[in-house]
């Protein structure tokens, strides 16, 4: 991990976790995310879909709109334990 992403990781308050094989690329989480920190990966999961990933970790505001909207139980948000 380089210095830039280390700082980004320290800045983030929330982490967004994606169970890749459950994602069906419906795009709701990406479209509905207010700070627009989600995007689609380029590679495919085992079912042929490109899952969501968080492209700007520090930008997540923890609103959980992605988690609540997801029909697949594929994405959820956790508060980061800042030690």
């Amino acid at each position: 991990m380089n210095l830039q992403s280390q700082t980004a990781a320290q800045k983030r308050s929330f982490e967004v976790l994606v169970i890749n094989d459950r994602c069906k690329e419906c795009g709701l989480c990406i479209e509905l995310c207010p700070p627009k920190v989600l995007d689609r990966l380029d590679n495919y999961n085992n079912f042929g879909y490109r899952p969501t990933y968080i492209k700007d970790e520090a930008g997540c505001i923890g609103c959980k709109i992605c988690e609540y909207a997801c029909p697949e139980f594929a994405i959820f948000v956790r508060k980061v334990d800042k030690k």
Binding site: L17, R22, K24, P71, E72, F73
Partner: protein, 277 residues
């Protein structure tokens, strides 16, 4: 890589996921709201029974870790009522689509409402018969097409909220998949309501309804549903709108307290036993 466990995982039959619903289908969102409601109310997992009919919504019991029954088309309500009356200590929830509950199952819906049957009925309305490939439903608006209504439907759609209210239901609400938190709160209220509770959920069917009507993506159809779903407070079910062009009213329309069906049967048993053998 740590193993990712969804906060609601304990309520899922994980070995069956990913589920069979299309990408973007709203049913999964409804299931999530339901599971959150169960979790927040801390209802014991082995005290819930989910009963469903046939259709995409009918597949719900296959994915949730409760006692469940996936029964015949339109007949979830009588099966659920039988379960509840045999085990009144259990919480029985019915899931069905608009075709399953308002078409073939319409008679049972009406009488369950009339009886104030001790059930929570959640009807996912995506304006179409999904599982069979996209045919017209009694809830389909006149302005759209389906695979059996290429010239648009021959009749007006039914507004289930009005139908169920007129049958005497004591708790009637309508939400959409665009408001999962409000839906969850409404489900919690329904669980604590005495007798019959009915919640209609407007939901997107992107692959069939969306595609045949020119919606380019899930989000496109989702935006339409969000736009026409207007939350109203303090209006009667008969003032609620069900208009594809302007508004489908969301909110809680009926909520009154009355003896449930089981309350009345219990009273009959007491009276019969009191009168002597």
């Amino acid at each position: 890589m740590e193993e990712l466990v969804h906060p609601l995982e304990r309520y899922l039959r994980s070995e069956k996921l990913p589920h069979m619903w299309c990408p973007g289908c709203g049913i999964g969102t409804v299931v999530q709201a339901f599971l959150r409601a169960v979790d927040e109310l801390k209802i014991e997992q082995d005290k819930i029974v989910v009963v469903s009919g046939i259709g995409c919504t009918g597949r719900i019991p296959q994915y949730v870790k409760f006692d469940g029954a996936h029964v015949l088309h339109g007949r979830a309500i009588p099966v659920a009522l039988g379960v509840k009356l045999a085990r009144p200590d259990l919480k029985v929830v019915v899931f069905g689509g608009d075709g399953d509950l308002a078409s073939i199952g319409g008679n049972h819906l009406i009488h369950a409402a009339r009886r104030n049957a001790d059930l929570t009925v959640i009807m996912v309305n995506n304006f179409i018969y999904g599982l069979t490939g996209g045919q017209v439903a009694p809830t389909t608006p006149k302005e759209v097409v389906t695979y059996t209504s290429p010239y648009s439907p021959d009749s007006k759609p039914v507004d289930a909220v009005k139908l169920v209210s007129a049958a005497g239901a004591s708790f009637v609400a309508r939400w959409s998949t665009a408001y999962p938190v409000l839906l969850k709160e409404s489900i919690k209220k329904a669980f604590n309501h005495r007798g019959f509770s009915f919640i209609e959920v407007i939901s997107q069917c992107p692959e069939l309804f969306g595609r045949i009507n020119g919606f380019k993506s899930t989000y496109d159809l989702y935006q339409k549903i969000k736009r026409i779903g207007i939350i109203r407070r303090g209006i009667s079910p008969y003032e609620a709108k069900y208009d594809w062009n302007t508004e489908i009213s969301l909110g809680e329309f009926v909520n009154f307290d009355a003896p449930s069906y089981y309350d009345q049967l219990k009273e009959i048993i007491e009276r019969a036993r009191g009168e002597g053998k």
